[in-house]
Symmetry: C2
Subunit: 264 residues, 2 copies
């Protein structure tokens, strides 16, 4: 679904948190399967948050049973009314990218409202996802400035225009979707200056902000991701919620923490 | 497996072609499944080529049944003695990258000899694959200069050092694996000047060269990928072989075409 629906859910719940479903093997309780783990988390947070973000890697690591659980988890989250972002960071070209777009934005077993993609291949790697998103009211988030310590090795390299690579990436994406309705940016909470810079340069683009919590990002450091009215961004929280004894209470706390820095 | 085993298979068969297993739905013959399609191709080429490269996207687009077929295809190719490169272009960080590395370089249902990865996130996104590769005698190919028309939008941007981004990428990768034993580069046949430049700068690195055939690359344009003795590169051919009436004959023709430009 386009970001219009995501923003509507955010507004209804007054919550700017997406729960990252990252089932590392040591997180499963005794007797839990990958699916029942996800169902427990989804049931705990479904009334609080607008969205969940399954991390494909942890399901792929479990092979065929893992993909089955991923599909069940996606379907269950949709059934509970949540916006589902597949964190797959796919990136390929032509008919290969079309196949990925069909897999994660189509109507099949793994079809979601939104998918994350990698921009290294240029617009050839983005357009097929945009085409699929337009045909199916979907959306995508492309990596722009990621939250990890080494993200600057390529993303911060200054180019001959005087701007870093991540600005070139954002400009390439912005040129494909000037409305900002279907292509959002992944920008890490761990780089608040870059968040503010990108927010100012791309006032219509939706941001997915990882790095809050375990990676060191705070509510203060993500504040710059939002537009003046507190919209156009969603902050990922994974470990802080999914490893909590009471994930619902942890989601409420994260929601309130982020809302405390939003001007409404 | 490290590139040592791949080079050994290349030498034994005197063939520098990897067959890309890209099962677009319209390629399957009446009655064929994703697996029986792959088995037919593998049976046809197994005595000719050293390696196959399943494209994960086409299997993921078929959901759970597709992943099951992918696993069966990987296992069958290994059983036939082929080196298997999973073309997944994964890219993530930390424990997420570890999960992808476990999925595609581990001992599970989707475990292969080698996997393709995306470098946009910097060395945080590469190291977990290298660690897994070292523990399991595996290898990886990272995207450096891709074969598609828009690859230059980010990869060719000139940086403040005077070098394009793809050289920064290659240098980042080279710093992680100076021996070139486990981290290879993806460099497109459609950019022969860049192939020659990278070959000269990174004389020990193994290259995976897409773009030969349908995308316009010729034997002459891939010649620069090889070291002076005709080693250290493998050329992907997909459509030219997998859609041929006689895939074995097409593999022989591709083998001979590439060998004709190698100085031995």
């Amino acid at each position: 679904m386009s970001f219009t629906r995501l923003q509507k859910l955010i507004n209804e719940k007054n919550c700017r948190i997406v729960v990252g479903l990252d089932p590392r093997p040591n997180m499963l309780r005794v007797g839990e399967t990958l699916f029942s783990w996800g169902k427990r988390i989804i049931d705990a947070v479904a009334e609080i948050v607008p969205a969940v973000k399954p991390q494909a890697a942890f399901y792929e690591a479990a092979g065929i049973a893992g993909i089955t659980a991923l599909s069940e988890t996606v379907q269950y989250a949709k059934q509970r009314g949540l916006y589902v972002i597949m964190d797959a960071k796919r990136g390929d070209i032509g008919s290969t990218a079309e196949a990925y777009a069909e897999a994660y934005l189509g109507i099949g077993e793994l079809g979601c409202d939104c998918v994350t993609v990698n921009p290294y291949l240029g617009s050839d790697g983005i357009k097929p996802f945009l085409v699929q998103a337009e045909s199916n009211d979907g959306a995508l988030f492309a990596l722009v400035k990621t939250s990890n310590p080494s993200s600057g090795e390529l993303q911060d390299v200054i180019t001959d225009s005087g701007k870093p690579v991540y600005i070139r990436t954002a400009s390439m994406l912005g040129a494909l979707d000037a409305s900002g309705e279907r292509i959002g940016f992944v920008v890490g909470a761990t780089y608040p200056e870059q968040l503010a810079e990108l927010r100012a340069m791309f006032p219509k683009s939706f941001f997915l902000v990882p790095g809050y919590g375990a990676q060191g990002g705070t509510a203060a450091s993500v504040a710059a991701a939002f537009s003046a009215d507190g919209s156009l961004a969603i902050v990922n929280s994974s470990r802080g919620i999914i490893t909590a004894d009471d994930p619902r209470a942890a989601a409420v706390a994260a929601r309130d923490d982020i809302n405390s820095v939003i001007c409404k």
